[in-house]
């Protein structure tokens, strides 16, 4: 019996978290897991903080997790990692995309973008991995694949890299973006030892 594993994806509306979680969950279903996934729509989307939770195992009950429950927190944006850190298990793992997006108080100059977020998290979470998905996506030639690079890293961190992810990409993205996204996914996987 596989114990249910919990993944929390966090970021900012518009970063492609929904597609990222779709790729992940499609692969998990193909592998025969029971999967539940939870998103919040509506008002929260407008440039606000966004999370998706993905749970998988033999049989999953609740679609949502509570604080201290996520096996992996993967954050598409630096400050959001801190906002959602409370949901991580004490023994959990963090993947941080080195990408900063200012929120309204920061953009207007009323607050400063916080410094030292990554350092503080790394001091608290032993397994902290920082990736520069934007740089990798640019190298690949399409900055919009940043989210898929991050999913690649997540997949490797979960030890699921052996599944047929190329097939998953083919079934989840538009045909003309299949190749670049497969490259992005692999680039992400290579970020995790």
């Amino acid at each position: 019996m596989t114990e249910t594993r919990n993944i929390l994806l966090s970021g900012v509306g518009g970063q492609g978290i929904i597609l990222a979680s779709k790729i992940l969950s499609t692969g998990l279903i193909n592998a025969g897991y029971d999967v539940k996934m939870s998103e919040v729509h509506g008002m929260a989307q407008r440039g606000g903080s966004v999370t998706t939770q993905v749970r998988y195992g033999d049989k999953v009950d609740s679609p949502i997790i509570g604080k201290g429950q996520a096996d992996i927190l993967v954050s598409f944006e630096v400050m959001e990692t801190g906002r959602w850190l409370e949901y991580l298990k004490l023994s959990g793992q963090v993947i941080i995309n080195q990408w900063e997006i200012g929120s309204a108080p920061i953009l207007s100059g009323k607050s400063l973008y916080p410094k030292g977020v990554i350092e503080e998290i790394a001091s608290k979470v032993e397994e902290t991995t920082v990736i520069d998905a934007a740089r990798l996506a640019r190298e690949i030639g399409n900055i919009r694949t940043m989210n898929v690079v991050i999913v690649g890293a997540l997949i490797k961190a979960l030890g699921l890299e052996a599944l047929d992810w190329e097939e998953v990409i083919r079934s989840t993205v538009k045909p003309k973006f299949v190749d670049v996204n497969i490259i992005a996914l692999k680039a992400g996987m290579d970020q995790i030892q």
């Binding site: 969950s25 440039g47 309204a104």
Partner: protein, 592 residues
Amino acid sequence: MKKLITGNEAVARGAYEAGVTYASAYPGTPSTEILENIGPYKEEIIAEWAPNEKVALESAFGASFAGARSLAAMKHVGVNVAADALMTMGYTGVRGGFVLVSADDPGCHSSQNEQDNRIFAKFAKVACIEPSDSQESKDFIKEAYKISEAFDVAVLFRMTTRVCHSKGLVAFEEREEREIIPYEKQIQKYIVAPAHAQRLHPIVEDKLKKLEAFSNETHLNVEEWHGSEIGIVTSGVAYTYAREVFKDTANYLKIGFSNPLPMDKIRAFSQKVKTLYVIEELEPFMEDQMKAAGIACIGKEKIPLTGELSPDVIEEAIFGKKPEFLSISEEKIVPRPPTLCAGCPHRGFFYALGKKKNVVVTGDIGCYTLGFADPLNAIDSVHCMGASISMGHGAQKAFKKHGVDKRIVSVIGDSTFLHTGVNSLLTVAYNGGNTVNVILDNRITAMTGHQENPGTGFTLQGAPAKEVNLEELVKAIGIEHVKTINPLKLKEVDTALEEAFAFDGPSVIITRWPCALKRYSEADIEEFGPLENQCHVIEDKCKGCRICTKTGCPAISFDNDKKKAFIDPNQCVGCMVCLQSCPFNAIERVVE
């Protein structure tokens, strides 16, 4: 083959499989995707956006009256709008199977309150069914139609945000076509004149007794025995949370059919356990009835009544066990409130309005609610759909009567205006109001994710439609001073407001520009054309005054080191509101 789908998608599939032929809704989070996912079944189901929830419910009731299986969907507060029709449907019953999907929002993720609409089912004397996940959302819809027709009763299908928007694996089945039930004139059933209504009431009470007997037998109310001394009565998504916490260390009575409650079954269950918990989200709907029936149980003494439940909320409530977790120092988390998008046509209007002194602004429900937030700070109230215009009217009357020198501006979106704002504007015109009413016409129902409405020219299923002419409509209502403007032009907005303030009588300003995220129709392209050339800051001219940041545009940031503003070319769409706000002409369009 199972598919990973949301509860809303599952309801749509269930309606398809159940042989539904008519569905109507008004969009509202978390219910919107139900009709959006029924839409593609064009051959089998007519799916429509109604202007409001009352119209949606009545239209679906009409299809049932004609003998077809029908569905209406709305968010919890939408049922308030539809309540007039619902309350009497309890008396009349139905002909074709009828389901009202009520999507409740515990935790107010996207709502103004967290009312528990199971109470509406009891109040209206209709059946209530509660699914706990996506598979049940599909299966229970099919059961709901059988129950509706077998007992001649409307079914309120109560979902919650987590059921609507969580995805689970669902097995699909074939559609079962339903012949229309032959029409028969039944005036004693469908004309609720007092003499008929008096006769219908005892019939309803008798029907509820039969439904309670059914509730005690149906597999929708299921026991799960694990040999424990603890028993849990639970329903909806709370069941999955309870399972997460107690796993197989408790016995469960999972209530899928919650009005009328299976009180005999609950009593028998309670007698076989030592400790009985009731774990339900929001109101003590089951608990109060159980306690009234003399069944001892632990409910809201421990389980929170307010806010959303979750596994850890339940664990802490029952076992006092606080979750252990890490956190980051507070100063490293800056709030990230939702904002109007870059290029949003509401921004220019609110920026100009926010400068007006001595003005009280009554707002409404939509993206433009965000006009209240910093740095725009341009709205004083937001209450419910349509209330901007009617609250504004009453406020202006009261101010005038008491000699208070303040002007009211009522601000409402196009879809919300057509929802209920029209009625409110009627009172303004008819009762001698003196408010400035602004219809923010962004050519779509934006906040819920771009649904068509009577002002957009298309139906839900993509057919061209009659497009209401807002200007002609408000003139027909009796508003004499009507002006249509481009909200991206600050001077135009300012002039329109000043003219409206100067006019002795009620006025309407229509700000007409598409939502920045809208996919333009051919008519849109013709009327508005593409926005061309982004804006950028000329650093030499920028004095660091930060006035452009007061527009609240997420594409503009202020560099505290350089003391200069910066426009993010990845976000700017060239609306030019910031350019007009700059007193030093330090923003210009990028010349290509």
